[in-house]
Amino acid sequence: MIENNPDPMLPEIFEVKRLQRETADTFTLELTRPGGAAEFSFAPGQFNMLYAFGRGEAPISISGAPARSDTLVHTVRNVGNVTRAICKSRPGAKLGVRGPFGAPWPVAEMAGQDVVIVAGGLGLAPLRPAIYHFLEHRADYGNFELIYGARTPADLLYRRELERWRGRFDFRVHATVDTAGADWRGGVGVVTTVIPRARFDPANTIALVCGPQLMMRYTVMELLGRGLTPAQIYVSMERHMKCGLGLCGHCQWGPFFVCKDGPVFRYDTVKDWFERREV
């Protein structure tokens, strides 16, 4: 096994093995180390800095299975110069990778608990490694509910995988969109409307939440309304991360550096900062 790059400031060259369109502006890239099978270890919820040469770096969550570490998987939305260049990469193209960085989802500590995952839009990407982990160790966890919301059916990530997961008997998948035509068979309504129907024991549940901040705010309110305490909820925050090491200060959020102390935070540790408008 080759260890991850020991110098966190030095990008390592990876090669694009496969590129798959997820939605109109979002792509999933599979990267490998050139020249063969080499593993890349990471924990669910961590991110890498992806470097499009000549354009710059962007922080992108790792969205592949932790157990399948010969391939590094990232889901990228084309929203700026760097992500546009990354999304235009073709198989064989080279990208720089620094990482993995950040605090992960506490998947091991969640053993014995019910699991509720609430994802919105691209927020499913950083949660997917955690989902793979829970499914791989399914017997270690109680009820498992995945609630996923997007703007329209065309904006749902990993559509085939969602359908496959929905066919399993050992966890429940709720997909809901804000608006849809009559051919859509899933739910219509914001993700918060699904939470009252989720099956879990509030005293023995951990919830993982990732999505737009507004969605997370109302999701947390609903989860607290169902009886969870702030210490039973984890959120993944997004800020302008640059160095990945808590040195440059770009991602400072009150007393935290999101790249180092987060992106995953236990809600009770950040709730005083969650709705501050000045930060």
């Binding site: 035509g181 219509v188 129907r197």
Partner: protein, 152 residues
């Protein structure tokens, strides 16, 4: 003959209501079943009933000539579809409601409930409290939906 009192008592909408009111409400209730694709109500029709969804899913749709049916919301078990129009003139549905799956509902006849509420204002107050809560929840949900939280 089936009595609907236990079934009504079990519905989130009526949870905690005084048992004496349940008897009045049960007199206005009936069971109905809708196959997938069947309409519970259509826009412009007079709203003579509202529904408590016992099982299944219902999509609330508006029809646009350009886009066809557009789903505004889906409802499921425990949800209330429709409401009591307390104004004098007949109330009409503003949208279509279509069963997505096989759907079982308790149908509550509006005229009957209104008469019971007029005769017993305590019951009327209980019903109004519940509808106000239900409307406030629907209003919060629609506001979030309109916000477009996923805008990049």
């Amino acid at each position: 003959m089936e009595t609907f009192e236990p079934l009504l008592a079990d519905q989130p909408f009526f949870r905690g209501i005084d048992p004496s009111h349940l008897k009045d409400l049960a007199a206005c209730a009936s069971r109905e079943k809708y196959s997938a694709g069947q309409f519970l109500c259509r826009a412009e029709e007079e709203a003579t009933a509202f529904f408590l969804i016992l099982q299944g899913r219902v999509s609330i749709e508006i029809f646009s000539a350009r886009r066809g049916p557009v789903i505004l919301q889906t409802m499921g078990e425990g949800d209330v579809l429709g409401w009591l129009g307390f104004q004098e003139k007949p109330f009409h549905w503003h949208w279509d409601a279509r069963a997505v799956d096989l759907t079982r509902v308790l149908t509550l006849e509006v005229g009957c409930i209104k008469a019971k509420c007029e005769a017993d204002h305590d019951l009327g107050y209980e019903i109004m409290k519940r509808f106000v809560q239900s409307l406030a929840k629907a209003f919060r949900e629609r506001s979030l939906q309109l916000t477009d939280m996923f805008q990049a």
